[in-house]
């Protein structure tokens, strides 16, 4: 079990550090955090991990027998959100997330991970050379742009067809107008109700 845990951590650490190495400034910023230890404590499923930033990457340990600078205690769902979300600060302020100790290092680490800009083209050029990397890079960018445009166009066409042709759904503008009418009606009903209440009160007195 010890070896299996270590193998999983080592593989994850290796993958993560390869990604970190693709950012121009991440390792330099991590080096500034060297010596700090951040503990991640998850109650369900129960596990505890330790993050040790260093100049060569982020080290992950299942045990750490010395002092910890900061502990974050949160359920698995929150930790996953924290790993994936763009706005990590909002998740750190959630009710079910508990921070203990000096959170400066954790916020800095979260900032490093949030601000990653991966220069994958440089990494590719190390294997394929500059010409190959540039060709693949241009192809990937063109494909990405085409995919985005196609998606946007498909979405527009589909929504037009559903709203205008098949009349399966109400169109956006039509829907907004209907909602505005409902809002106005609700407001009028509220006013009427208040007026009736006032009249009833006057009659009683």
């Amino acid at each position: 079990m010890i070896v299996l845990t270590q193998a999983v951590l080592a593989a994850f650490e290796r993958g993560l550090n390869s990604v970190l190495a693709m950012d121009a400034v991440a390792l330099t910023r991590l080096a500034a955090l060297q010596g700090t230890v951040i503990a991640i404590d998850c109650p369900a499923p129960a596990f505890r991990l330790f993050l040790l930033p260093a100049g060569d990457g982020l080290h992950i340990a299942a045990h750490h027998e010395a002092d910890v600078d900061c502990t974050i205690r949160a359920p698995m769902t929150r930790l996953t959100q924290l790993a994936l979300a763009q706005n990590k600060t909002a998740i750190l302020h959630s009710d079910d997330v508990i921070l203990e100790g000096d959170s400066t290092a954790l916020i800095e680490l979260s900032d490093i991970l949030q601000g990653l800009e991966l220069d994958w083209e440089y990494e590719l050029s190390r294997w394929l050379g500059p010409v190959g990397a540039a060709l693949i890079g241009r192809f990937a960018r063109n494909t990405g742009d085409w995919t985005k445009q196609s998606q946007a166009s498909l979405q527009r066409s589909l929504s037009d067809w559903l709203a205008e042709e098949s009349r399966t759904l109400v169109g956006r503008r039509e829907g907004e107008a209907r909602f505005a009418e409902i809002d106005a009606l609700r407001l009028a009903v509220d006013r009427l109700e208040a007026r009736l209440e006032r009249l009833a009160q006057r009659r009683r007195t």
Binding site: V3, Q6, A7, A10, Q34, L52, A54, A61, A62, H63
Partner: protein, 256 residues
């Protein structure tokens, strides 16, 4: 502890693998083995353990409790796997001493660490584990990974490690041990005595050294014997963790 002495008049003998040799010759014979394998040591380690030795060492680092500013002694540090990680953990305010009795291994370790830019907080010392050339109460942590079984007087070496540790400091002994399952033990024996020497012959052109490796593992004290040895010398709270079914064990003791 496992050394045999044939009475006060006779030359004391000890084991060198399955052979009995005079104590005075063991260090020389072990040195020959490591001079022979030093250049291919890392490659052979990866091949023989299928890379798992890195995971055993990772766990050792985790249990070391080493932190920024600590002073660490890595005995029989060989090619510097543990030293590299300790250097990162202790930071610029700490110090790591890589000690090895064998100058060939020390040179390989020093070159390897320098090539990786690990130099600012590491010292290299050729030293005998039985007579460590350091002051009393000097280190926060002492480790010996896959080295204790090659030491002639293990009790003396452990006592020497106790002496150089600060009170509260910890000793970590990572060493081959006895598999906990009979089935695994048989498979491991078959692997050690047929596959290891063959691989040694093919890769390092030295089957004898790898036969010694297999034999020396069998002659090394098992988990509980080593634990008792550490306690007898004066370590407290001695515990051990079996890894890979007991093929390797990590012993840890605290200096009172």
């Amino acid at each position: 502890m496992s050394d045999q002495r044939k009475g006060p008049e006779a030359d004391p003998v000890t084991h060198f693998g399955y052979q009995s040799v005079p104590e005075s010759q063991k260090a020389h014979k072990v040195a020959e083995v490591f001079h022979s394998v030093a250049a291919k040591y890392d490659v052979m380690n990866d091949l023989m353990s299928m890379g798992i030795h890195r995971l055993w060492k990772r766990f050792t680092i985790e249990l070391s409790g080493v932190r920024s500013g600590n002073r660490v002694l890595d005995i029989a540090g060989g090619t510097g796997d543990l030293t590299k990680q300790f250097s990162r953990l202790v930071g610029p305010s700490g110090e790591v001493v890589l000690a090895d009795i064998n100058d060939s291994m020390l040179k390989v370790g020093r070159d390897r660490l320098l090539d990786k830019g690990v130099a600012h907080n590491v010292r290299f010392v050729q030293a005998d584990a039985e007579k460590l050339p350091f002051p009393d109460n000097y280190f926060d942590c002492v480790t010996i990974a896959f080295g204790l079984r090659n030491v002639t007087h293990k009790d003396e070496a452990i006592a020497s490690m106790l002496r150089v540790l600060k009170p509260g400091g910890r000793l970590l002994v990572l060493e081959f041990s006895k598999p906990t399952s009979t089935l695994l033990s048989k498979a491991y024996d078959a692997y050690s005595f047929s596959f290891l020497p063959l691989m040694g012959k093919l890769i390092a052109n030295d089957s004898a050294s790898y036969r010694y490796l297999a034999e020396s593992i069998r002659m090394h004290p098992d988990q509980n014997t080593l634990k008792a040895m550490m306690e007898n010398v004066g370590f407290e709270r001695v515990t051990y963790h079996n890894m890979t079914g007991g093929i390797v064990a990590l012993h840890r003791g605290i200096k009172p």
